[in-house]
């Protein structure tokens, strides 16, 4: 349902403006109206938008700037302290501003340094694994052979290692040490130690054999292999230490200052909210005037609250809603508990106008109905209910709980229609348990199911047209109302004419219905022009679109029947259960997805287009934000 709103006017002396806004914020039910035309009201009072004084303007800028700095600071400072500050921000605001400036500059420097360290570490991280492999190998060689040149090598494969090993032995007459190991990443690396001065010969050999030396970052290019390894290892240790130091400093700063900055930030946000709200305020020479919208049920509460706080100096009165206001009335939806989850589905559409209808209750009634008509199986319905109950018991996020509630309602209707169609896991119920349909068996009654779907569609669309007729009459749009009424007559006439042709045994004569149509259609052309019958054709098309209820239902039941047949064909109980279970699961997933999409589509495209006027303004009351 769309919440009934009242237009209110809050008037008081200018010095109480911010207190009045603060009172409205605490109640959180007032939607401010900033349109001067709407504010002028029927009396056309000489009012103008409130102009902030120079001091007020400077104050706002100062608050905004400080809030911005503190917000950045709060993002940099690590969370930790749960302590809450009891500081009153206003008397110490200047000191806080100076401190915030200094702390922000310090924190930015530290943050930039941390980013630099992270970048450098990212670059060096690729060498951590290499170091873990190389360092133990190197320490062994270092102790035993002090007068040696050491080279690090990377081998492509085992063969190149063996080949190089043999060649080295030949070239240096055994005066060489070659050790290898695999890194954690699976690369084979090696270390060659040779007598000092024999490096040129070794390099020449490596070049011939195409065995590359281990590659190091640009800044470690100079020095021997051992020095490079040492510098790299040392640099990684330095990075870790410096990062720990910076984080420690930021944590200490956060522990001391974060609660204070949080308190000041909350206070600044409140002040800025009040100042922002003051932009929608009007003034006369001595008074302020706030125009806004209030849910009718909240009127008395707000009146008594203002009376209690200001002892009659600030008054709230409801004022007349003019025709021109209709477009500006904010829209809030309030539905009973059962319909509440369906608001998620209406949220996919633009908000309805205040003068229109809330589509939620219609979705709440017809969506599970269409879903049940399409899926219609006692077994599937039971599984959906159990699944929905499981989700509800897990107490997950609100979206999931709402989805579970909708699924539960759909499951219930699926079971109900399953009983009417006599379906339990397709035809298993009728074959194993002797379940008989109360209505008709869908798999064999495609044409009756088609007529049933079209009849339901016809009633649904007619309901939409009736709602549009009511809405038009309510807004004194008589011509539109009569046109919609004629359309209803024409649709009823066409439907009954269809019945006389399909079921002549009913004894109905087509003549009266032909007459009805031949009166309604020319009258529509007379009132709505040549395009009016096109609207009628579109409506007929909309009704035919409900044939999808039959089509999707038939595919669902046929898939279930096939699942049972294939299960039976295996000739083995376990294999049969597995095959049938798998196919039923697939059918159930498909059977949840397709009816959801198509039931929604029938509402959005066919039903709502008949009566729903979208484009409403969302009700956005001025409210008190809770501190973080």
């Amino acid at each position: 349902m769309i919440v009934r709103m009242v237009k209110v006017e809050i008037v008081g002396p200018k010095e109480l403006l911010f207190d009045a806004i603060d009172a409205a914020r605490h109640l959180g039910v007032l939607h401010l109206e900033s349109d001067p035309q709407s504010a002028a009201g029927p009396d056309q009072l000489p009012i103008s938008s409130l102009q902030l004084s120079e001091n007020g303007f400077e104050e706002r800028l100062f608050f905004e700037e400080l809030a911005d700095k503190i917000s950045t600071l709060l993002k940099i400072l690590p969370p930790g302290s749960l302590r809450k500050s009891t500081l009153q921000p206003l008397p110490v605001l200047d000191i806080i501003a100076t401190k915030a400036e200094k702390h922000l500059s310090f924190c930015r420097q530290q943050r930039d340094r941390l980013t630099e360290l992270a970048d450098e570490e990212k670059e060096l991280d690729a060498f951590r694994g290499l170091l873990q492999t190389i360092e133990p190998m190197l320490s062994g060689i270092d102790h035993q052979h002090r007068m040696l040149d050491i080279f690090g090598l990377s081998f492509k494969d085992q063969e190149s290692f063996h080949r190089l090993s043999t060649l080295l032995e030949e070239l240096f007459d055994g005066e060489v040490v070659l050790t290898t190991a695999d890194t954690a990443a699976g690369d084979r690396v090696g270390i060659v130690a040779i007598a000092t001065g024999a490096g040129a010969r070794l390099r020449s050999l490596l070049e011939t054999e195409n065995v590359p030396e281990l590659d190091f970052p640009e800044e470690f290019k100079n020095g021997t292999f051992v020095e490079k390894v040492h510098y790299l290892s040392e640099r990684l240790r330095q990075i870790d230490a410096e990062r720990a130091r910076i984080k420690g400093e930021l944590t200490r700063l956060g522990q001391s200052w974060r609660p204070i900055y949080q308190q000041v930030y909350n206070w600044l946000s409140q002040q800025l909210d009040i100042l922002e709200a003051s932009a929608a305020v009007f003034e006369t020479g001595m008074c302020f005037i706030i125009i806004g919208w209030l849910p009718q049920k909240q009127l008395e509460r707000m009146q008594s609250c203002l009376e209690q706080r200001f002892k009659g100096r600030v008054t709230l009165e409801s004022i007349a809603i003019m025709e021109s206001d209709l477009e500006r009335i904010p829209v809030a939806l309030m539905n009973p508990r059962y319909f509440k989850p369906f608001e998620r589905m209406t949220a996919l559409l633009p908000l309805p106008r205040y003068s229109s209808f809330d589509p939620t209750p219609f979705l709440g009634i017809f969506f599970p109905l269409f879903f049940g008509m399409m899926l219609g199986d006692i077994g599937y319905g039971l599984i959906l209910i159990l699944f929905a109950s499981g989700l509800l018991m897990r107490n997950g996020p609100p979206l999931l709980l709402d989805a579970a509630r909708i699924l539960g309602a759909c499951g219930l209707l699926t079971m109900l229609f399953g009983g009417l169609y006599g379906e339990l896991l397709g035809d298993w119920g009728s074959q194993a348990l002797g379940l008989q349909p109360l209505f008709f068996e869908r798999s064999h009654a495609i044409v009756p199911m088609l007529y049933f779907s079209l009849s339901v569609g016809g009633m649904h669309i007619l309901l939409g047209l009736v709602l549009k007729t009511i809405s038009s009459c309510r807004h004194h749009l008589w011509k539109e109302g009569v046109l919609k009424f004629l359309e209803i007559i024409a649709i009823l006439g066409l439907s009954l004419l269809f019945v006389t042709f399909l079921w002549p045994e009913t004894g109905l004569e087509p003549a009266p219905f032909l007459l009805l149509i031949s009166i309604a259609v020319p009258a529509m052309i007379l009132l709505g022009g040549l395009l009016a019958p096109l609207e009628l054709l579109k409506t007929v098309g909309n009704i035919v679109s409900y044939a999808r209820i039959m089509a999707i239902g038939t595919t669902s039941v046929l898939l279930a029947v096939i699942a049972n047949r294939l299960g039976g064909m295996t000739g083995d109980v376990i294999a049969g259960l597995l095959v049938a279970g798998l196919l039923h699961t697939f059918n159930l997933i498909l059977g949840v997805f397709a009816p959801t999409i198509h039931a929604l589509r029938l509402h959005y495209v066919e039903f709502f287009s008949k009566f729903l006027e979208v484009g409403g303004r969302r009700f956005a009351p001025l409210d008190k934000k809770e501190p973080d």
Binding site: M345, L348, V447, L450, S545, A547, R548, L600, R601
Partner: protein, 71 residues
């Protein structure tokens, strides 16, 4: 022979709209995927938009069923 004609007509009645639906859904799906990259909040609307051309194949199915069962 008449049965064969009926079967052929039913196959055409569902086959051609199925191709048309597939083509329309491919276009809407591609555009929808592009939209979702920028506005993920439109997921529900896009799903419904993709379902719109299915009317063709559903009506094709109805016509095919009527050809086979009523003629």
């Amino acid at each position: 022979m008449e049965k064969a004609y009926l079967a052929f007509a039913a196959a055409l009645a569902i086959g051609l709209p199925a191709l048309a639906t597939a083509w329309a859904q491919s276009r809407i799906g591609a555009a929808g995927a592009g939209t979702l990259a920028e506005k993920p909040e439109l997921t529900g609307t896009i799903i419904v938009l993709i379902a719109i051309p299915e009317t063709m194949v559903i009506l094709g199915f109805v016509v095919a069923a009527m050809i086979l069962l009523m003629l």
